[in-house]
Amino acid sequence: MSVTTVFDAAGAGHAIVPSGIAVTGVSRSFGAVSALLNATLTVPAGSVTALIGPNGSGKTTLLLMLATLLTPDTGTIRINGHDPVTEPERVRAIMGWMPDTLGSWPSLSARAALQTTGRLYRMTREQAAVRADELIALTDLGDFADRPSRVLSRGQKQRLSLARALVHSPGVLLLDEPASGLDPAARTSLRHLLRRLAGEGSAILVSSHVLAELDEMADAAVYLADGRTASPEQVAAAGASARAWRIRSLDAPALERALATPGVVGALVQILGVDQLGTLVQVENEASAAALLHNLVLSGVPVCDFGPAVGNLEHTFLDLTRSTGPDAEEMK
């Protein structure tokens, strides 16, 4: 590794036991506005955790505090055991942060920006050049690497921003909306990259609005609403609540007839309507969904698609924001 010196500096005197991110009871207010209220979460090393919440729920404030840029009013934060308030330098040596704003030095090329960032992390010129080449290949920036970064597109800047967060091979990654502006191919490679980094032992916290995508890569999720993290019980309750399932049949009239037949649809199922992708039904839980599918097949309906209409994260997120009342709705 070209950047072991950085880690040595950070881990001096400590046995390096990466413990990931631990946030306990953190609050932060700006004047009269509370951005975070008693937020608690953990991101174990070797996992990807999604940070989900409506706009203005405090996601960016939380990430700024984890990134050693902002002090919490109360509560404690540990990044691999280090406190960002009292030992920011140790945290910075092991933490990579990708901000939600696309900031890059406009007159520097992507390659020069990555080399400069490496040198800001105290790499030698040669180490920084080698690492910049690795990251350009990793984030597929090769074709644009030598153009000034002000002519890059949004997605290209986003990839540059990700590469910059990875310069010093950090053990803890904080990514604020990493997928926004990326094309589908880049999103897929981002997902593979994050899974690989987690597999190598990194603790990764990703905030995003594209919940379907987080579904595929996150091991766990933290829900933020009005500055509060949802408790595990709330999350479990929301995840288990009634949700919409989508049914598509090769023979639409047969499906319609079957659903109208008494006995096929159980007491816990409610028909919501038909859209261009199929028929939506509200199902109380997975057991009643299984019973419904069983009955439909027995009735001879050629079912070709049967599944939840929205992903797990989205369902839980929507349910939680609904349950926090009208305030949360207004914020959207």
Binding site: T71, S104, S107, R122
Partner: protein, 362 residues
Amino acid sequence: MTDSRVFLAGLWLIVTLELRQRVRGVSWYVLLGVFMLLVGIVTFLLWLATSAWLSGGGGVFSTIIFFVLLLGTLVSPALSGNSVNGDRDAGTLATTQVTLISTGQIVLGKFLAAWITALAFLAAALPFLIFAVVLGEVSLATIAVSVLVLAAELGVIAAVGVGLSGILTRPLFSIVLTYLVVAALSLGTLIAFALLGTATQQQATSVNYQVVSSTYDEQTGKQSNIVCSTAQTSTHNVPRFDYFWWILAANPYVVVADAAPGSFDDGGHPTDLFGQIAVGVRSAQAPPKLYEENNWCDEAAEGYSGQAYGLGPTPQETYDGAVPSWFIGLTMHLLLGAGTLTWAWRRTRTPALHLPAGSRIA
């Protein structure tokens, strides 16, 4: 590597990054070219105006130094006045702050880069300064002191610009305020000095005893039988510039002029612009005479020669008899620069305790 070497390496990295960011491309060299052209024209006209081929290059040299100070103070705020808050707006400040670079290195590095930029103007004026020196009559001490003090003053403007950009959130506002600081020092001090001096007028009294009649002996050239008038009292108002001379000490042009060792001709007159300004400023230190008694009768009895009333002190005597003020002014400026930089450092430090209203840290 030792701590100080790590600090200096990071500092220099910020300086070079800043110079690559801000001082770039063709427009910068066009600006320097236009500046050189202007200095060239000014040098040529001064050469004609001061008959420099006869009187030496003192006048040309001092004017070029002032010209560099003028251009430096006009350009420096625009280049330095948004260096911290402009980066915050562009989103590059926070990404630098999460690396192993400290806020002190960022603020200090931006200041050094702004100073180096301003010094480029001094470097561009160098051929003309050398030309003035070649014309002769410019002492080595004048060259050394005026260039050093000029460089220090350019540093102060750069420090104020970078400092204000760290203190204030909006780039436009910090640039404008830096210009206002420059204007307050360069012009405001003159206006304040003139207004305050003339506003605090005091009554001065003069008592005169006049010769009413006398007999003049043409042989001896003496007067006898002198009949003297009674005391004739008259009053008039005088401004008290001596209370406010220290205001002028805060003027950067005065600092440069007063710091240069005085250079005078045989008649005690200054030979360059520095000397003229320094004499003017230092003469303001002398309090006006509030009571004056002239006994013309005694003068007549002792043999009026005309010489007794003398000419006032020569400019050189005024200069030598007064307190030099440049180090007071320079100290005030250095404190101002260091103070704004320190304040900017405190405001920019992370993890941040407070955010300025309406600002995003990222």
